[in-house]
């Protein structure tokens, strides 16, 4: 039993580090360290840099332009990216719709959609959740009615992350109302510029319109945008649930944030002349999070080692999702605690492009509460943590 990398893996790690050192743009790094969002153009620019290197799609097979990396190589890559704060490719195209197109799409669809995802020419968003269908996703009501060579789509989707940037949306739509709810769902790709689509931005607790509601009003979609068979969409969508989700635990990002937290804590007075880093109750909380991070890291490595020898990804990803998100939220809380009064100013625009004023400080303290509020989403999205517990109960404990 060992957690060591082979010499080839170590060489690969070095290659990744060297690449990131020289190719991850300094201005992006500075921006991320200052907790400012990268713009759409900047995100695409970074993804194109990865594409140029041949590293745009670590999880794709070589035949579609992927890297063909082993599980361990993917882990190393994701770790090195996370440790310096480089953003992972936007997941909706690369990790969510692409595997479904590869598995169930026609050759024609694969040729039409995959290269644009790989080269970051097309931005995708997700059309699963609806205003009345959250955890009970299969109850969705957006309809698609076949008329000749087209589907006519009506309804509403919600929580579309960066729908305002998207060229395409992949949707679960109802094509049969007469059968069991899971059996009347189809998987449809829709161009965002189609007439009849409107977007309503939704401002989240941090003041940022990160998500949208998308309305479909008699939107005409070519029938050849259907993936696989009509009414089989639920089966296709479920592929995502078991599909490999590397770096789901967010361990490298957690390590990076804890490092930042400790640096700030060392320079923060506890009000009695000592530093927050040495404040006994704060120190204990930091240690507990560090310890939890280790437990999570080794849980992820155990999962990874099992995947490497060909075992199917199981409900372990539910553990990583639950613990990873809850831990990231605990780190958010520590930043809030550390910032104290200084996290209270609600000035979200100072983290946006084009802000001309002097940012409120010290440091990024005014970001702490914004991020705390924003990241409450982590235990809700991607199958809420309660749904993940249901998965564990059903598939592991047999309850």
């Amino acid at each position: 039993m060992n957690a060591d990398f082979t010499s080839e893996e170590l060489a690969f790690q070095k290659e990744v580090r060297t690449f990131l050192d020289s190719e991850f743009p300094l201005e992006f790094r500075t921006k991320i360290d200052a907790n400012r969002r990268l713009s759409k153009e900047e995100i695409i620019c970074w993804q194109k840099i990865l594409y140029k290197k041949g590293w745009a799609a670590p999880t794709w097979p070589v035949e579609f332009g992927g890297t063909g990396w082993s599980q361990i190589q993917r882990h190393i890559f994701a770790t090195e990216m996370g440790l310096i704060g480089a953003p992972e490719p936007v997941p909706f195209g690369m990790k969510m719709v692409a595997p479904i197109i590869m598995e169930y799409g026609t050759n024609e669809q694969q040729k039409r959609f995959l290269p644009d995802i790989l080269e970051s020419n097309a931005w995708w968003c997700q059309g699963y959740s609806e205003p009345n269908s959250g955890s009970d996703l299969a109850s969705l009501k957006t309809t698609a009615v076949r008329e000749g060579d087209e589907y006519i789509v009506n309804g509403a989707k919600t929580w579309n992350t960066y729908g305002q940037y998207a060229d395409w949306i992949f949707c679960l739509v109802r094509t049969d109302n007469t059968v069991k709810k899971q059996e009347g769902i189809s998987f449809l790709l829709i161009e965002m510029s189609s007439p009849g689509i409107t977007l309503r931005p939704i401002v989240l607790l941090d003041g940022h319109p990160e998500v949208n509601e998308v309305f479909f009003d008699d939107v005409r979609v070519p029938a050849n945008n259907l993936i696989g068979e009509e009414n089989k969409g639920w089966t296709y969508a479920k592929l995502l649930l078991t599909h490999e989700r590397s770096n789901i635990s967010g361990v490298p990002r957690g390590k990076r944030r804890l490092g930042t937290l400790k640096r700030i804590a060392a320079d923060t007075d506890d009000g009695f002349g000592g530093s927050m880093l040495e404040n006994s109750s704060f120190k204990k909380k930091v240690a507990e999070v560090e310890i939890e991070l280790r437990a999570l890291e080794y849980s992820e490595l155990r999962t990874l080692a099992a995947l490497s020898v060909g075992k199917a990804p199981g409900p372990e990803s539910s553990i990583l999702k639950i613990v990873g998100t809850e831990l990231s939220q605990e780190i958010d809380e520590l930043f809030v605690e550390l910032a104290a009064y200084s996290c209270l100013p609600f000035v979200p625009e100072q983290f946006e492009d084009g802000f001309q004023g002097v940012p409120l400080g010290p440091g990024n303290s005014a970001y702490a509460a914004l991020n705390y509020f924003n990241n409450r989403k982590a235990s809700i999205y991607g199958g809420s943590n309660e749904i993940q517990r249901n998965i564990i109960c059903k598939h592991v404990l047999g309850l």
């Binding site: 039993m1 060992n2 957690a3 060591d4 990398f5 361990i72 120190k283 204990k284 930091v286 240690a287 507990e288 560090e290 310890i291 939890e292 280790r294 437990a295 999570l296 890291e297 080794y298 849980s299 490595l301 155990r302 990874l304 080692a305 099992a306 490497s308 020898v309 372990e316 553990i319 639950i322 613990v323 309660e386 517990r389 249901n390 564990i392 109960c393 592991v396 404990l397 047999g398 309850l399």
Partner: protein
């Protein structure tokens, strides 16, 4: 990267499983606890035959040369069966100290018989005022010519009433919590002035209060150099800490498994209680706790076997014990709660496992202690 067991580890695991299946049913264990020794001599002889007593010792000392990971493989299975035989005090603690500190002449007379199952030992370190601080030692050792005079007292010394010899941590110089000045002495259990008051711990293990009223032993009974024993003690206790943490992980997994099984058969309001989501999610959380505890113990064992610095190793051990302590509290308490009334009784093994893991939580430092230690390193 490889988290699978080697063939040898797999064999070791199966060997313990086979023994447990044959010799360690619930009632058999109860009888062992009720006996005067509180462990089975027959079992101990079998352990020797099976080679288990050699596992942690170096090959040059006649041992198996096992790694920390090997040790966790065994302890995991011991934990599942709630085994009471004094493996930790005799083999891991006392054996570990002898192996680390003793000179060759001392070793030969001790490690051989130990591995053959003919020697029982106890390690007396904790005191009334020490809590978990190994450097807090009030028991004194005063050299008088070629004799040493030991004065003081130790608490909760596991296996003391069965031990042929006690390894006693005593102070030769310095203040109560100084790191320097601590030595370890080998004291025959029939020494004059030695008062052993045996009792049974909550988990069924035999322990004792030990008093030293001017116990005189030869100077040659000191293990290693005068006043320099603390770092060896810390290293051995670190290893033992990982071992009992692994034992707890095995026990916790059984607690989870038994709780899930019970929830599928126990019916209330016309349905198995395992169909109630209020209980399901708590069992999911128990599962997560078990997995995290297992992961962090593997991490610590690997670190002990690896080439990290001593500080990194100690940090890893404290991280593991701290996290396992939390899992113990959560999984142990929930197992009793979900079992309901029957979980409160002596009739079910669940309660016995709960008591064992509770004792492990305290042994070598509880969660708070190790969290603070982790933060200070």
């Amino acid at each position: 990267m490889d988290f699978s067991y080697t063939q040898e580890q797999q064999m070791l695991k199966e060997s313990v499983q086979k023994f447990v299946q044959k010799n360690y049913a619930f009632d058999a264990r109860k009888q062992i606890i009720a006996s005067e020794e509180g462990y089975s001599k027959e079992n101990w002889e079998l352990f020797a035959e099976l080679g288990w007593l050699t596992v942690p010792f170096k090959e040059e000392d006649g041992g198996f040369g096992g790694s920390a990971v090997d040790l966790t493989v065994m302890m995991d299975e011991f934990g599942k069966s709630n085994l009471v035989e004094p493996f930790t005090p005799t083999v891991i603690l006392s054996g570990g100290l002898i192996s680390t500190l003793a000179g060759n002449d001392q070793k030969s007379g001790l490690l051989g018989p130990l591995m053959e199952g003919k020697l029982q030992l106890a390690c007396a370190y904790a005191e009334a005022d020490s809590r978990f601080n190994l450097s807090s030692v009030s028991t004194t050792a005063t050299v008088e010519g070629d004799q040493v005079n030991i004065e003081g007292g130790k608490i909760n010394v596991l296996n003391a009433s069965n031990a042929d010899k006690l390894l006693v941590v005593a102070r030769e110089s310095g203040g109560r919590t100084d790191r320097e000045g601590i030595s370890i002495f080998l004291v025959d259990s029939d020494s004059e002035g030695l008062l052993i008051q045996p009792y049974t711990n909550v988990d069924g293990k035999k322990a004792a209060q030990v008093g030293f009223a001017s116990v005189s032993i030869p100077l040659t009974a000191r293990l290693g150099k005068a006043g320099q024993a603390l770092s060896a003690l810390e290293t051995v206790v670190d290893r033992a800490t990982v071992a009992v943490s692994a034992e707890a992980v095995g026990a916790l997994e059984v607690l989870l498994q038994k709780t899930v099984e019970y929830s599928k058969t126990r019916k209330q309001f016309g349905s198995p209680i395992g169909t109630f989501q209020a209980l399901q999610h708590r069992m999911a959380d128990m599962f997560i706790e078990c997995q995290l505890a297992r992961s962090i113990v593997i991490m610590a064992a690997m670190k002990l076997d690896g080439s990290d610095s001593d500080v990194e190793k100690s940090k890893a051990v404290s991280a593991a014990k701290s996290r396992v302590g939390k899992a113990i509290e959560k999984v142990g308490q929930e197992a009793i709660q979900i079992h309901g009334g029957i979980g409160m009784t002596e009739e079910l093994d669940v309660g016995h496992l709960f008591k064992r893991v509770t004792a492990i939580d305290i042994q070598f430092g509880n969660s708070d202690y190790h969290t603070a230690k982790f933060a200070s390193l």
